[in-house]
Amino acid sequence: MHVLGVVGPSDSGKTTLVERLAERLIDRGRVATVKHLTHAPDVDTDGKDTARHRAAGAATTYGLTDDEGWFATGEDRTLDEALDALAPDYDYAIVEGFSDATVPQVVLGDRDHAGPELAAAPTADDVDVDAVLDALAGTEPRETLESLVERVKRSPRADRAGAIATFTGRVRAKDAPDDDPTEYLTFEKYEGVADDRMETIAAELEEREGVLDVLLHHRTGVIEYGEDIVFVVVLAGHRGEAFRTVEDGIDRLKDEVPLFKKEVTVDDEFWVHERE
C-alpha cells in the first residue's frame, strides 16, 4: 500500500486536494483515507445505541448496515496502527493533516512537517496532481506481514498452494540478560542494487519445484525496539518446501543484500558489522 500525506494550514485546501487525489487513485486500486481530527468524532452522538456501547466501555464499536455502509469508533488508535490495519486490503492510503507522520507528504502553505516532501505549493490549486501521482509511484510501499500474506493468497498460482510459510525479523532489546537495551536500529540501503538483489533471490527461489511465490521485504530508516524489520513469505504446494525456502530466503537476504544496520542502545551507537 502506498501512503500519501497532505498537510497544510486550515485554509490551504487540503481536503480539496485529497478529493482530487482520491478521484484519480480509485482508477488504479482500492483507496483508503484517514483524517486527523482535533475534536471528538461526531459520527455517533450522545444517546445513540452505538454511543451507549462506547460509554459502557467497549474499546471498539462498529455500526454496520445491510447495504448502506458502516462506521467504526474506538478509544485509542495511532496513525501507524490504522495504516498497518489498512495495508492488507488497500493499494493507497491518503492521510490528511498528520504533520508529524513520517510518510511522503504534499505540503501546502509551507507547513512544518516530518516525512519526505513529494510536492509543495501555496494551495491545493497550485498542485500538479499528475506529478504527485508519479512521485507517489516511486515511494516505498508500506508492507506488513499481513499485507504480504494477502498478496500471495491472491496469486494466480494460489490454487496449487497448500502452504504459506513466513519469517518476521524484529528489533530485539537484548541478546543476553546484561546487554544494554536497544532503543532503535537504522538501516541504510544501497538504492536500486538492494531491491535488484532481493528480486533475484526471490526469482531463483521461485524456480524450485513446488515453490509458487516468494516475497522479500526489508524496511529501512529508523526501526524502534519491538517493531518488525524484515519479512519473507513463501507460497508453496506443501509445507516442506515452504519451510526450507523461507529459511534459505532470509539467510540469502542477510548474506547478499547491501543493507547496513546501525544500532542505538541507551548509552552507545555502532555499526553492527563492526561488532560481529
Partner: protein, 92 residues
C-alpha cells in the same frame, strides 16, 4: 566516475558520493586508487598491511562484483559506470 560509500565508510569520508577523475577506458583499479588517494582516511579503513582490500570489504561495479564477474582490478570502465565500496552487509 562516481563512487558510492555506505555505513561507516560514508561516515569516515563525510559524504556518500565521491567523484573521481578517471576516464572511460581506465580500469576499476585506477578508480579505486584515485578514491583512496583522495581520501587516505578511507584507505586506513579498507586496506590491509599489504595495501590490498581487506577480506570483508565489498566492491561493486554497476551492481556486480568485478572480482567475480569481470577482470577484477583490470576491469575496464565506461562513462557513467557506478562504483560502490562498503563493509559487510548486515540486513535483517
Amino acid at each position: 566516475m562516481e563512487w558510492k560509500l555506505f555505513a561507516n565508510l560514508k561516515e569516515v569520508v563525510g559524504q556518500s558520493e565521491v567523484e573521481v577523475d578517471v576516464q572511460s577506458g581506465e580500469t576499476f583499479g585506477d578508480a579505486l586508487d584515485a578514491l583512496l588517494e583522495a581520501h587516505p582516511e578511507l584507505a586506513a579503513e579498507v586496506l590491509n598491511d599489504d595495501g590490498e582490500l581487506r577480506d570483508h570489504i565489498r566492491v561493486l561495479h554497476n551492481g556486480d562484483n568485478p572480482f567475480v564477474s569481470a577482470e577484477g582490478r583490470d576491469t575496464e570502465l565506461e562513462a557513467g559506470d557506478e562504483l560502490a565500496l562498503f563493509p559487510p552487509v548486515s540486513g535483517g
